[in-house]
């Protein structure tokens, strides 16, 4: 295991928060990368590649999330995931 690990903090911006559709886009995007991806909300951590896990987070608008990426493409994964959340999941 490399000592490398990327941690990012993001705030959920879109109105719906991490409800079904945003959760699905997040999980689908994360699946494209080899790196492991975990999300921590208020000390509760789930695997960001698991839809049931992300649903469990109940992350509403304004929630702070700590993201953790580990793996060979962690840099790219972190950038892509953070961008998606920043863009508010491209919600109208």
């Amino acid at each position: 295991m490399s000592s490398c690990m990327i941690q990012r903090e993001v705030v959920v911006k879109n109105r719906a928060g991490l409800h079904t559709r945003p959760a699905a886009s997040l999980v689908k995007l994360a699946a494209k990368f080899k790196s492991d991806f975990f999300i921590d909300k208020d000390g509760f951590e789930i695997n960001g590649k698991s839809i049931i896990g992300v649903m469990t987070l109940a992350a509403e608008q304004g929630s702070k999330l700590a993201l953790r990426f580990t793996g060979e493409d962690e840099e790219q994964a972190a950038t892509a995931v953070c961008e998606l959340i920043e863009r508010g999941f491209d919600e109208a």
Partner: protein, 588 residues
Amino acid sequence: MSTKADSAAREEVVLKGIPASQGIAIGPVFLIHKMDPVIEERSILPEEVGREISRLEQAIARSHKELRKILDFAEKKLSDDKIKIFEAQLMILEDSVLFDSIYGRIRNELKNAEFVVHDEIGKYHRVMLASKDEYTRERAHDVEDVRNRILRNLQEQKLISRLEGSSVIVSYNLTAADALILSRNEVLGYATDIGGVTSHTALVSRALKIPAVVGLRNVSHVVHDADRVILDGYAGRLILNPSAESIKRYEAKRERYHEFEARLAGLRDLPAETLDGRRVDLSANVEFEQELEFIKIQGADGIGLYRSEYLLVGKEVFPSEEEQFEHYKVLAETMYPKRVIIRTFDVGGDKVMMEPVREGNPFLGWRGIRVMLDKPDIFIEQLRAILRASTKKNVSVMFPMISTIEEVRHAKKFLEEAKHQLRNEGVPYDPRIKVGVMIEVPSAAVMAEDMAEEVTFLSVGTNDLIQYLLAVDRGNDIVSDLYQEFHPAVIRFLRRIVERGKKKNAWVGMCGEMAGDPLATILLLGLGLDEFSVVPNVLPEIKKIIRSVKYKEAQRITKRVLTMQTAGEVRTYLKKVMKKKFPDIPID
């Protein structure tokens, strides 16, 4: 065996629930047991791991196939929002992180698949159920549904989707998937223990036009398979072991509704006018666009209450201005030139809430206009959408749950702001759009005269007004007897609202349930009400009553009622009047 004698001896039992979808069903019960599956914890040998895992793989594949089928079927029958429920369930079935950990636990802990599936998914289910987010708690049911589907397939139980003959389905609860699958058979009606008007059962049954009563509490324990029942989707009742007389009565009721529909050709285009020429507006309360056709057939003078919060059902966010505009435009255009009163989102209380708030007493809490005034962006978006739909000048806007004059002024300011924005953008709207308030809080009723100075019309919401005036929660069985429409205080209060409102030239209507109670029609007419807005199915009946009396006579009857001191006296008297004048309208 004397089953016949037994059932003849069985007493008729009436269960009260919430009417979720209109219609009357008479037939045998088909009971669906939806209890938590019984899961045995069993240790397996290392050499059995392979078999256990392949068993689980097969169960997942079968569940996947079932859900795909349901989704295909749903796509044909239901709207986008409801389809999402099934999409989410399919995604869970495809969650490789989840199933990798389940396979891992079977290998490491050497436990049977049923136990591990139940335990592992149960962890997520529990976290979701405990969430403060209402949306997440709702989704917990979807998670449970998927889990039970896998477990059922593991235990190789057959899906109950084929019924023998036509039946009334009785269950603790039905998921949207159950209701939909079952509807492919001859389902006469649905009755469930839990659920409200916005539950999956209610939404699906309305879409499928099958009578349904939900919230019957313990109906699934009280009835047995093949018991005979009557399901009254108008009044929200289930009658178990109905007597021959009840069956006859309900067959007549069903017949009467059918007949009314047929007879309407004659009544439909006639005004709601008394014999001596007093004309009132008889309009309809509407929740869904699908009802528009029906209310036109029913001969409504317009929509007296469009409950815009129904646009929020099954939604994760408030719909955009554009999306709302599309809906409001359909209402305005379909009903043109008749009037459409759009009530701004009435969230909270027992109604849809878009965000989690735990309140000790939601009925006295953050609801109706109080929520919207705290959410200017959303409120303005809605007002803009309403204004944009008002170009034909037949749209009015109404604010719910008003308790102070400041709220009315504040809400009107937002309306002006919305107009201002549209004007600057060059977007057309009706600059003279009429504004009204709901009178459902006693303080607003007391201030009726002042309210009337602020707006064009007042519309009395009796359900809440009576609850607040009499301090009775009608959903509370212990005290619900005290919820009395005909309480003299209610009637005297109504007189005051009508008198004071009209004094300031506002017109006064009523959109609460009382407006659609045939026993109250003459009384309300006599009080001087200008508009009745009722559930569409009672419209012809109310019109018939209005057209058969003189206003003078109604006033005389009302005057007498106003001297009475108990609800019992009022009811007895009105029943007598009705029996004499309308022997063919059965009054409960």
